[in-house]
């Protein structure tokens, strides 16, 4: 059987070599089934959506800092518009930025390359998944411009606010919003099936379970978590859609429904979703740290078991988002315990990263800076989570800016720092050009410092009791003090500095593509399989499909001349 397998593989690769020339622009970049192109499409769409989401945050932060004044490039913000902006900022940043960039873009690009195969196992489903995703993004953007404006019931879409147009005042916006989210789920279900099946079935010869690079593991586990957790929410989305459009009463307490059910359906997905986007970012960091510390990853298997534990625990913590929603007090105790428990595996992973650094010969290249920043900033996010996970403290903190600051300290490292770490690390492989180190570092510091300046004031404001859904704090005398207002202005100015600093990144990319150094096959001297092929990899990825002889993190092995040992080298 193995013999026939090799033969088919050989026959295939012969065919591959003479197969692709003269493809038109459309079939090469738009309707391609090639995983690298699809990954790039996801990446560009995600970045475009990030710009929209970033612009939204600028508008509503301006409203908070300078209430009821006309915002440059937007105009005056009404309370309805404010709600729509906040809602769609959250939705976009999670579903259209973190998910496509971290899972879909990096997953598509890395899984076949790191597993040593020529493409995803279902390339056409992969293409379809991107097309559905693009459609979902278009539907969401359209929803801002329909009569009544975009949906403004928060990204959690609690009924009855989201279920009845007479409450939400956005009859079309809320329907399109649910439709967009549902389409996005379908896209990621298809993508996830592809990732999981590829990593399970199509790994290179010799690659055993524990030779798979961490980031592939993490993306696969994230896909599994997503797939299992999203089911009830898809059912719930259909129910909510029927409530909106047809007038059923699934979540209407006046007619026998139960709004708490939606909260459960939502958070049963919503909490594992945090780990769905966290794990790929942790994986990216887990690739970068050993490469730039030139050390074997400390406790590779332990890290995997920790991630398994996180995955399992992530399914039993969801109700900590509902402590004050009127859920059963006995369950609240249970969920407090599980919530505090889940910080253990995540803390353990951070310790493993630090232990990997210990005694290594660290070089602070840009990707490494981002990776270290991830660990530090995520730690702050995790530690502040303890306050919110404990039900007693949460009763005070719930729905204040403390919560906002807390989850931005987790999501910003995940979505933005994780993205920059990954893109600066794999940019040479993706395009064949090196990024400029100096401007990369300038961009890093101009992002990280303002980021902290935005959210540390929000912690203080939150502990002062500032509620997160107020659009003009001047209406509340206790919150309208000049001390608080100065903190808000400080956060807003920091946000503008941070957003402007991103221009450096884009300019850096364009200049590096034009004039950057050629990267060569393996600029970072890393071990995993994607570094053994050309940069950028051609169609079919490898000239000869590689074979794997060892784990992915064999750095500085005693007795070897070089301090790295690629997975596909026999000796």
């Amino acid at each position: 059987m193995a013999d026939t397998a090799t033969k088919t593989e050989e026959a295939h690769s012969d065919h591959h070599d003479d197969h692709h020339h003269d493809q038109s622009f459309w079939s090469k970049y738009v309707f391609s089934t090639d995983h690298k192109v699809i990954g790039m499409q996801y990446m560009l769409t995600g970045v475009a959506m990030a710009l929209i989401g970033g612009f939204m945050s600028y508008v509503f932060r301006m409203q908070l800092a300078f209430p009821d004044e006309s915002v440059p490039f937007f105009g005056r913000v009404s309370s309805l518009e404010y709600n729509a902006l906040v809602t769609n900022h959250g939705t976009i940043m999670i579903f259209w930025v973190a998910m496509p960039i971290l899972i879909a873009a990096f997953g598509n690009f890395l899984i076949p390359l790191m597993c040593g195969c020529d493409d995803m196992v279902f390339p056409r489903i992969n293409r379809l998944s991107y097309q559905v995703f693009l459609l979902s993004a278009v539907v969401l953007v359209i929803s801002f411009f329909v009569p009544g404006g975009g949906f403004g019931g928060a990204w959690t879409a609690y009924p009855p606010l989201s279920a009845n147009a007479e409450y939400s005042l956005t009859p079309m916006g809320s329907t399109l919003w649910i439709l967009a989210v549902a389409l996005e789920f379908v896209a990621f279900l298809m993508g996830g099936i592809n990732f999981i099946t590829t990593a399970m079935n199509a790994r290179a010869k010799g690659m055993r379970m524990f030779d798979i690079p961490l980031v592939v593991w993490m993306i696969v586990i994230a896909s599994i978590l997503f797939m299992i957790s999203v089911g009830p929410l898809i059912a719930g989305a259909i129910m909510l859609l029927l409530d909106q459009l047809v007038g059923t009463a699934f979540f209407n307490p006046f007619r026998g429904g139960d709004p708490i059910l939606w909260q459960h359906l939502f958070w049963f997905f919503g909490h594992p979703e945090v780990y769905v986007v966290l794990l790929p970012a942790l994986g990216i960091v887990g690739e970068i740290i050993p490469t730039f510390a030139r050390k074997k990853f400390f406790g590779y298997k332990l890290a995997l078991y920790t991630v398994f534990a996180t995955g399992i625990l992530s399914f039993v913590v969801w109700a900590h988002h509902q402590f004050i929603a009127g859920v059963d007090p006995r369950m609240v105790h249970l969920f407090t315990v599980t919530t505090l428990l889940i910080s253990i595996p995540i803390a353990e992973l951070c310790f493993l990263y630090i232990a990997t650094l210990y005694g290594g010969s660290i070089s602070f290249k840009t990707p490494m800076l981002w990776a270290l920043a991830f660990v530090v900033e995520f730690l702050i996010g995790g530690v502040t989570g303890i306050h919110l996970g404990a039900s007693g403290a949460d009763i005070y903190m719930h729905d204040t800016y403390f919560v906002v600051a807390h989850f931005h300290y987790t999501f910003f490292p995940i979505a933005i720092i994780g993205f920059y770490a990954g893109i600066t690390f794999w940019f040479p492989k993706w395009t064949g050009c090196m990024l400029n180190e100096f401007w990369g570092k300038v961009h890093f510091w101009l992002t990280i410092i303002p980021f902290n300046c935005i959210f540390i004031p929000l912690f203080i404001l939150g502990m002062g009791g500032q509620h997160r859904r107020i659009y003009n704090h001047q209406h509340f005398s206790e919150l309208a003090t000049p001390e608080y207002q100065n903190l808000r202005i400080f956060a807003t100015v920091s946000l503008i500095v941070m957003l402007l600093a991103q221009v450096i990144f884009f300019v850096n990319i364009i200049l590096s593509l034009r004039k950057g150094k050629k990267a060569g096959k393996n600029p970072w001297k890393a071990n995993t399989l994607e570094w053994t092929t050309e940069s950028p990899p051609g169609h079919g990825n490898f000239k000869e499909l590689p074979e794997v002889y060892r784990g992915p993190y064999e750095y500085s092995v005693p007795g070897r001349k070089e301090d790295y040992w690629p997975q596909d080298q026999k000796e």
Binding site: T8, M200, I260, F315, V316, M331
Partner: protein, 122 residues
């Protein structure tokens, strides 16, 4: 390449399985019908639970095991299905205390908790 290989497993006698499934279907239709007019609540509940739901699980198990070939499939698939079902049980366990809670149905402020004072507070 493995097209032939995975068909090597012997096919079970599908006809027999099919007939057993039909018998179970008849049981599940007539079981609840038979006890429809019995007064004793315990008997009714037991019979309906067994004929409707236990039989449904047996039928589902038979279809999964022999029609979907889970009996000879790689254990990983079986494991996967079990995890999905388990997660649904977790969901049910976590949510039912809230949804099954009848306190607050047709809510009236009979104890005047947080009642609005007739006179505005000073």
């Amino acid at each position: 390449m493995s097209d032939h290989e995975d068909h090597e497993h012997a096919h079970p006698d599908y006809k027999k399985i099919y007939y057993v499934l039909l018998v179970l279907l008849v049981v599940s239709i007539f079981g609840p019908e038979l006890v429809k007019n019995i007064e004793n609540r315990i008997i009714v509940v037991t019979v309906v639970l067994i004929t409707a739901f236990v039989v449904a699980f047996i039928k589902a198990g038979m279809v999964a095991a022999w029609f979907m070939h889970l009996d000879v499939e790689n254990k990983i698939v079986w494991f996967l299905m079990a995890i999905c079902l388990l997660c649904m049980l977790v969901f049910l366990a976590g949510v039912s205390p809230d949804v099954l809670n009848t306190e607050g149905d047709n809510w009236q402020n009979s104890r005047k908790v947080g009642a609005i004072p007739s006179k505005p507070l000073e």
